[in-house]
Symmetry: D2
Subunit: 178 residues, 4 copies
């Protein structure tokens, strides 16, 4: 998850509080898959975040982050999309906040959705973006891939297993599983 | 349903063929609720078609019509939205064609979803429209109503029961039931 | 929410830790509406928990409770159903854990889904139960109501607003809105 | 689709009427994937129909068939499940008739969902069965496969492409995509 990968859950909790909370309760997340759609509403491409790791390899990720105290799910989605895609992305948030999937990440080794730092539950959405995407972080790029390209082992292998699974679930939901 | 109310199922079937088919199989429809959304994706208003009947009363309806042979559900949605809202409505068709509800209309008296002419099964969608809506038929207007306004007995009472039910199901789906 | 109404979030967190966590992050819940279904899968009745309050009035509630650290959503649903309906209720948990609705409760006065103690996000499910329901708590009963009975102002008025809304959303989802 | 593979759409329409109707309108179907679930509601196995073809090869299929005039979707599901799994299968039909997918089959060569005889639209469901499955037709068997087994190229290759896709969409919907 992007804000975790950067070792930070935001300015709203001190690292000590965060550590405490993570040892007490599951943490609520939203995951979003940016999408380009054509004039008929058909999927053209999905957007994946690309990041160089300290080890010199690359990793790919969905837009993802925590829901803050007093924040609605809609606000959290909007905030994380803006954080990762920039202020001109013009995301079209869904009218209905029914997620296409609920991801459950556990710190336990061997979990299918594994997150070493925490137990997280994530509500996942596909979000069409109509504008210009400019990831703001230095190390970050956004890559647009067709549904077929996104499902190659090379691409899926650059993602954590939970994100790779959510991406394939999203494409299945849209009738675009290879 | 709009194209039925006008006594016509389109130029693609003769009246005789139509009568025959309706006596043999259920007929597939799409129903669409046009929606205005704000910049955050929240519902601002739903659009209902308004029509003066021959008896001098008015009736309200969803955008609705038959899926033609060789036509995809997406094409049928697009065609009926254009037919009823005009070519500048700019509907944003959903990425996923999972309906929020499946309506089943029966000709049998007393059916909750009653259609005197046929057994119809309808896939129902809420479709944001971003452009300028100009219903093309003489007798037709489009009225925008807030979720609260749309749920008054006066408005619901101007609709056939199936459409009134689908409208309330849509608002429930969007978390906007009064 | 039932375990909150009893002033307790379970033995797994001390009251001090709970207070701390609630001031830091949204708390994840599951809400379940027990259902009786006939042999064709049609809804016969929904089950509502009935409780005498200290003030001598009664309140009605859905089965509801927190998801614990390291607990799956499925396990949380199962635990809360057993806690409130007893060990012989034989709930048939859904194959898919897509909620029919996501409830967002805020402590802010005037929130449509209001919970004075916390910001909670709840995944809501309808769960058929095939067995014998015996609420274990002293003050608790389970009442079975038809879809029509459950939607009367008297019944809805005995519930907190969030639960009343989820119940109506569930009935809309099942095509049983009055 | 099973009743088509047997060259018959049921006794309710003469072959001549059927041919006529198929040349006029899309035909409405239901597709069902029988499932074994454990006591916690988790998927244990999916059931696929196995049939020897005239050419001496085998084919696998979902439970599938037409919705008849005046028949509800629920009744059609129940009838086709009983026809293919026998009267003791005890299917647990879903409370909600929201399909996990809508399949669109076209007679056009090259369609992703291809059906040489007709344009069909299918509402697809996963249906837990609790009883004893005894396919009634001579040539038919039911095979239970784990989610992993069902996704092997060997199994998927024995199905028409539309059914293979629906099966994978169902497993994605249940979080069980390989």
């Amino acid at each position: 998850m992007s804000d975790i990968a950067s070792g930070d859950m935001g300015p709203w909790l001190s690292p000590e509080d965060l550590d405490l909370v993570r040892r007490k309760v599951p943490i609520l997340y939203v995951d979003a898959i940016p999408a380009r759609v054509d004039a008929h509403g058909d999927l053209e491409a999905v957007g994946l975040l690309l990041r160089a790791t300290d080890e010199g390899t690359i990793s790919r990720a969905l837009v993802s982050g925590r829901v803050l105290l007093h924040e609605t799910i809609r606000e959290a989605l909007e905030r994380h999309l803006e954080k990762d895609l920039g202020p001109m992305a013009l995301p079209r948030l869904p009218l209905s906040l029914h997620p296409f999937a609920v991801g459950e990440y556990f710190p336990t080794p061997g979990s299918p959705f594994h997150d070493p730092r925490q137990h997280a539950v994530s509500l996942a959405y596909v979000v069409p973006v109509a504008g210009d995407c400019r990831p703001s972080h230095d190390t970050l790029e956004l890559t647009w891939l067709t549904a077929a390209e996104a499902q190659t082992p090379e691409i899926l292998g650059d993602m954590i297993e939970g994100h790779a699974t959510l991406l394939r679930q999203a494409l299945a939901h849209l009738g675009r599983l290879r």
